[in-house]
């Protein structure tokens, strides 16, 4: 009997080990706090609220010593601040890595290949219906410094055709301490982009390019 149990465990052991999941988290932050939708933030001379934050993380790959160890099983991942479960990306197996490479946004091939389900479903509010293309990064809110109607700003960053290709590649070297935790430091964007000047971005344009050029700076390993 004992030997049977042993054999059973021996057989099942590697299976369960093989199925151990690996989770990484992309946590949106405002300064030192986790982002809270519609919370009032005092930031320098500005009073800010974020009404909506969504962002595509796509083509996620894990590297160790510069060689690829794993390609994420999901083609595109939509982070949505109204649902913190979207901050997690889980892989079916366990492995070690010291670098993440991914895109902020949806690549041009996907943009021209018709309709998808799941996170790329055009009903997620991240697709422009009047001019085909995904919104790669969306940040809406109010700022006391914003001259728009009711102080509202709309940063809808998308566009896949040159010269307005807004997809940005990120590679993050990770140190050993917290390799599975990434911060998306949203306050950084307000340091880089003057919301009193750029506040209405809702199509592929020069302004969208200006913002997209700063997006890599938001992604940081947890210090």
């Amino acid at each position: 009997m004992k030997i049977l149990i042993f054999i059973f465990l021996f057989l099942i052991g590697p299976l369960t080990f093989g199925q151990e999941a690996l989770n990484i988290i992309f946590q949106p932050k405002f300064e030192t706090e986790n982002l809270v939708i519609n919370k009032t933030y005092l930031f320098k001379t500005d009073t800010l609220k974020i009404n909506s934050f969504k962002c595509y993380i796509t083509n996620l790959k894990y590297y160790k010593n510069d060689s690829l160890v794993h390609v994420s099983r999901k083609r595109a991942h939509l982070i949505d601040a109204t649902d913190s479960s979207t901050y997690y990306i889980s892989e079916h197996k366990f492995f070690r890595f010291d670098e993440l490479r991914f895109n902020i946004g949806v690549d041009s091939l996907t943009n021209v290949s018709g309709v998808y389900e799941g996170d790329l479903d055009p009903s997620k509010g991240m697709y422009w219906t009047w001019q085909s293309g995904y919104i790669n990064f969306k940040l809406d809110g109010t700022s006391s410094r914003c001259p728009g109607r009711k102080n509202k700003f709309y940063w809808h960053i998308g566009g896949y055709l040159p010269p307005f290709n807004t997809l940005r590649k990120v590679s993050l070297k990770l140190n050993k301490s917290h390799p599975r935790q990434i911060y998306i430091q949203l306050n950084k964007l307000f340091e880089e982009i003057d919301v009193s000047e750029v506040y209405n971005v809702m199509s592929p344009s020069d302004k969208a390019i200006r913002i997209s050029n700063k997006l890599q700076l938001l992604f940081k390993q947890v210090p």
């Binding site: 021209v112 018709g114 309709v115 389900e117 009903s123």
Partner: protein
């Protein structure tokens, strides 16, 4: 071992050919048509999805107040264009800023709308559904309404073996129906197939057409599907700059997607803003009004000179592109589907 391998490859072959048979049964263009652009492998045609798409196309449920369907602006009897208005009319009697184009041979188009704003047939329907002056709805509202209908739930299940109604299934069904709108049985096509002959007048018109028009309105689809300008002066009340609004490239100012010239008798008025009510006006534009703009296609740099007899011949040729069989095909018209649901 070898035997199983053989069996395996054979069965794969059988499966594949089954697929091809299924698709070509509903989509069977003539040999002289080019390869279609649409990737049928990602959305293989089958009768259940086509019929579901047809039902959706004619259903005003897709609009905010259940008043406007796709067919409100794209009527089967006008080769799926709209003839009453120069500019399209939508929900709450709002007026759009462009003429609703005819819908046929969509499988060959690389981009959609007059300015190519839409890059894939599957994505096209999102534009009218959500446009405030067309159907004024949202895709989530449409999904909710479809989910509330037992009939649609059953039809989606029959079509997809899955009753979850989502964006992809709605859009793919609409595409399937629209892909079956192939216009390839005009007199011109009969002549191509050697089953008919042009009259002398039509023959002469064909020569004039090849010389003056075919570079943009390329046979046999009668469009090169590129963005060109035929030098229409900009209507200041619309200020529609066409392709430029998508690319913001000054080279693209006043460029519009070259429309097909099939079925012209059914698709009046003409041009992106429906400015010409008759074919004669459209042709007169080419012979007398071409503005010399530096963005003008080289094809129109030299003035097109046609005598009034030649114009008559050209029109006679253009009329051989009318496809009555397509326009009156019952398979494309509204049909009430009744399904038996078990009590």
């Amino acid at each position: 071992m070898k035997k199983t391998k053989l069996l395996f490859t054979l069965s794969i072959f059988a499966l594949l050919s089954f697929d091809i048979i299924k698709n070509t049964y509903f989509f069977n263009p003539p040999q002289y048509f080019p390869q279609p652009t649409y990737d049928f492998q990602k959305n293989p045609l089958d009768s259940n999805k086509i019929e579901l798409g047809r039902l959706l196309f004619y259903d005003p449920l897709l609009s905010a107040n259940n008043s406007v369907s796709c067919a409100s602006c794209h009527s089967p009897f006008n080769a799926f264009a709209h003839t009453d208005h120069d500019l399209s009319h939508g929900i709450f009697d709002s007026i759009g800023n462009r003429n609703a184009p005819a819908l046929f041979n969509l499988a060959w188009q690389k981009s959609f709308m007059w300015d190519g704003a839409v890059n894939h047939l599957d994505m096209q329907a999102l534009a009218p559904i959500t446009h405030p002056s067309e159907m004024g709805s949202t895709i989530n509202d449409v999904i909710e309404k479809l989910n509330a209908s037992e009939e649609y739930k059953t039809l989606f299940f029959i079509a997809f073996q899955d009753s979850i109604i989502n964006t992809s299934k709605i859009l793919k069904s609409l595409s399937q129906f629209q892909l079956t709108l192939v216009s390839a049985s005009a007199k011109y096509d009969q002549v191509m197939l050697g089953k008919d002959v042009f009259s002398d007048q039509e023959k002469n018109g064909h020569q004039l057409f090849k010389k003056n028009c075919a570079i943009c309105h390329t046979e046999p689809l009668f469009s090169n599907f590129k963005f060109e300008t035929n030098a229409l002066p900009v209507d200041p009340s619309l200020n529609d700059l066409g392709r430029y609004s998508i690319t913001q490239n000054p080279e693209d100012k006043n460029k519009f997607k070259v429309p097909s010239l099939r079925n012209l008798s059914y698709t009046y008025p003409y041009m992106h803003d429906g400015r010409f009510a008759t074919l004669k006006e459209a042709i007169d534009h080419y012979t007398s009004n071409i503005e010399n703009s530096d963005r003008l296609s080289p094809a129109l740099k030299l003035p097109i000179k046609l005598t009034s007899n030649e114009k008559v011949d050209l029109i006679a040729f253009l009329l051989t592109l009318n496809d009555k069989e397509f326009v009156f095909n019952k398979k494309h018209q509204f049909k009430k589907i009744s399904i038996e649901t078990k009590e």
